[in-house]
């Protein structure tokens, strides 16, 4: 189990020591991490949750690592997206000359985000090491069963993500990274203050020991009354729940495409996973129903706000980033419903939705990078039949779009169905309304993009250069996974319950 953290950590160090082979090391490392995740999945499917005590120390001295069905699904998601994004990154950064004939059209759009030059940017120094450190801290976050260790993992994740945003090295991205860092640090401190109050009350940090202490306490609700809101707020800022989403669009919109894919698809799922683990675990007896309602209300507003902002964006990359703000809302809807009914379908719905969104959103950012490589910009109005240059990426975008809209065969649909079922069970009609309106708005903003595919090509436009296959295929692979998740939803659902 510990290999899920050790492998990417060792890979990151190796990438730092051998910068010339860093891309190859990163591919090998991510594939190895996927193999570890698959082996863990098999073990959990056969024997149930696993526990590991590094160094053999029992708690309270040692820190336990625990992986259950939900944890192993997130490990798999992370490993899968990382393999695709790493393969993609290897072609993204490899400078490939395309045979574009310069027709005097603007070859460089200074406002287009993704380095509108037709050959890829050079891999910045240290990029792959940071990349693998982000993978290690994500895996660590999904494995740890100790509150303080969660804080450390989540803070390392923030530092690695901030570095990955800043590495683009232009004014917009570094400013976005600084904002991301400040928001992330303040959020962690809320989380940490909450942990310190819990520690003062119960004297334990291990989740299982905390659960025992809380259920044995005479008046647990008053003791956790201050700590709980602090922890919820801190993690909600990290997960970019409305109105704490302000840092997300500039950061995800200015990073390199593979980085945005990992940030939007995976990194915001980290704090969501921690919250899910806490409110359905040790905090289940003490979370007031009002907290669930408040989270649900913010989630609905976030879905509407994120979708409306996505509709207004002139650039495709920011459209996808705002779509993430909306999609986070669905996860928090599930979380709010799980607070009132921890055994209900909300948990399963939230997990499946997180998996589907992770694959689909990563696929969209990867597809966007391929489209930009071909067209040189990401202004939606000026995209004219982008499938001429990146046919596979455009198909990937469409397939991933099905999952984001929640169309029937996709994983997004199954997730929304389960969340809707939980909402009906809890008599929350407004949650259901938010789900449906959010889906319609997602269809609206995605069709803004889809219709550019059918724009007639004026005769005098030059043919678009072809995007490299290394950029297109990983995008399609992840889109297909998000679709298969719906067709074979029974497999992950079996692991959750």
């Amino acid at each position: 189990m510990i290999w899920s953290v050790v492998v990417p950590l060792a890979g990151g160090l190796a990438a730092l020591l051998a910068p010339r082979r860093a891309a190859r090391i990163a591919i090998l490392t991510s594939v190895a991490t996927l193999a570890v995740a698959l082996a863990l999945t098999r073990a959990v499917a056969l024997d149930g949750a696993l526990e590991h005590r590094p160094g053999g120390w029992p708690p309270p001295l040692g820190i336990r690592l625990v992986v259950d069905g939900v944890g192993v699904l997130f490990l798999l998601l992370v490993a899968l997206v990382f393999v695709a994004a790493t393969v993609y990154g290897a072609s993204f950064f490899d400078p490939v000359e395309t045979d574009r004939i310069d027709t005097g059209r603007e070859a460089y759009d200074a406002e287009a985000s993704d380095h509108a030059v037709r050959k890829g940017p050079r891999a910045p120094e240290g990029f792959w090491a940071l990349w693998l450190f982000a993978l290690a801290s994500l895996d660590g976050l999904f494995l740890t069963a100790d509150l303080f260790n969660m804080y450390v993992a989540i803070e390392l994740l923030t530092l690695a993500s901030v570095g990955l945003v800043a590495i683009t090295n232009d004014r917009a991205s570094v400013t976005a990274a600084l904002r991301y860092l400040l928001a992330g640090m303040v959020a962690s401190l809320f989380f940490l203050l909450g942990i310190s109050l819990l520690y003062a009350e119960y004297g334990v940090l291990d989740l299982e020991a905390l659960a025992t202490a809380i259920s044995a306490a005479t008046d647990p609700a008053s003791a956790t009354g201050v700590a709980l809101p602090l922890i919820l707020t801190g993690l909600a800022v990290k997960a970019a729940l409305f109105p704490f989403h302000f840092w997300l669009p500039p950061a995800h919109g200015s990073a390199f495409s593979p980085v945005s894919a990992v940030l939007s698809g995976l990194v915001v799922k980290g704090p969501f996973f921690v919250l899910l683990r806490l409110v359905t675990g040790p905090f289940a007896p003490v979370v007031p129903e009002a907290a669930g309602l408040a989270l649900g209300a913010l989630a609905v507003v976030g879905i509407l706000w994120g979708s409306v902002r996505a509709l207004q964006q002139p650039r495709l990359k920011l459209l996808i980033a705002y779509s993430t703000v909306a999609q986070i809302g669905y996860l928090f809807l599930a979380l709010g419903l799980a607070i009132s009914d921890p055994a209900g379908p909300a948990v399963r719905g939230g997990v499946v939705y997180a998996l589907a969104h992770g694959c689909a959103k990563a696929s969209m950012f990867l597809a966007l990078g391929a489209i930009v490589r071909s067209t040189g910009h990401d202004r939606i109005r000026r995209l004219i039949a982008p499938q001429r240059g990146a046919p596979i990426a455009v198909s990937a975008f469409a397939v991933a779009g099905l999952a984001i809209m929640g169309f029937p065969p996709s994983g997004g649909f199954v997730g929304k169905l389960l969340i809707g079922e939980a909402a009906t069970g809890a008599d929350q009609w407004w949650t259901l309304a938010g789900l449906i309106v959010g889906g319609l708005l997602a269809a609206l903003y995605l069709f803004r993009v889809f219709r550019r595919v059918f724009v007639a090509v004026p005769d005098d436009t030059a043919p678009l250069p072809r995007a490299p296959l290394g950029l297109e295929v990983p995008a399609l692979a992840l889109a297909v996974v998000s679709l298969l998740l719906g067709l074979a939803a029974a497999l992950p659902l079996g692991l959750v319950s």
Partner: protein, 101 residues
């Protein structure tokens, strides 16, 4: 009022002061300093939590504070590096001025 309660209360006051600064102050360096005030507050509450029981102080709380200091140092250093980088990328900007755009 015990000493632990005093320290814990002081810690929460520091946290609140730092939070106010991190939100209200517009200059980046002040925001970073305010975040560091916040973390000192959190550390104080941890130390207070560790000294609650009579006798030997709790080593776990001290270990946590040490780890926390390392993590915060990393975060603050990264923040300062980013401020310098913004200035290096755009020499017209003043590194002490508020963030824009």
């Amino acid at each position: 009022m015990t000493l632990a309660t005093l320290y814990g209360t002081l810690g929460i006051v520091l946290f609140a002061l730092g939070l106010y600064g991190a939100i209200v102050r517009r200059r980046v360096l002040r925001k970073l300093v305010a975040v560091n005030v916040m973390i000192s507050g959190v550390f104080l509450t941890f130390i207070a939590a560790g000294s609650r029981s009579p006798g030997e102080p709790d080593p776990v709380a001290q270990a946590i504070v040490l780890t926390g200091i390392v993590v915060t140092l990393g975060g603050t250093a990264l923040g300062l590096a980013l401020v310098r980088r913004i200035h290096a990328l755009d020499l017209t900007s003043d590194p002490l001025e508020p963030l824009d755009g």
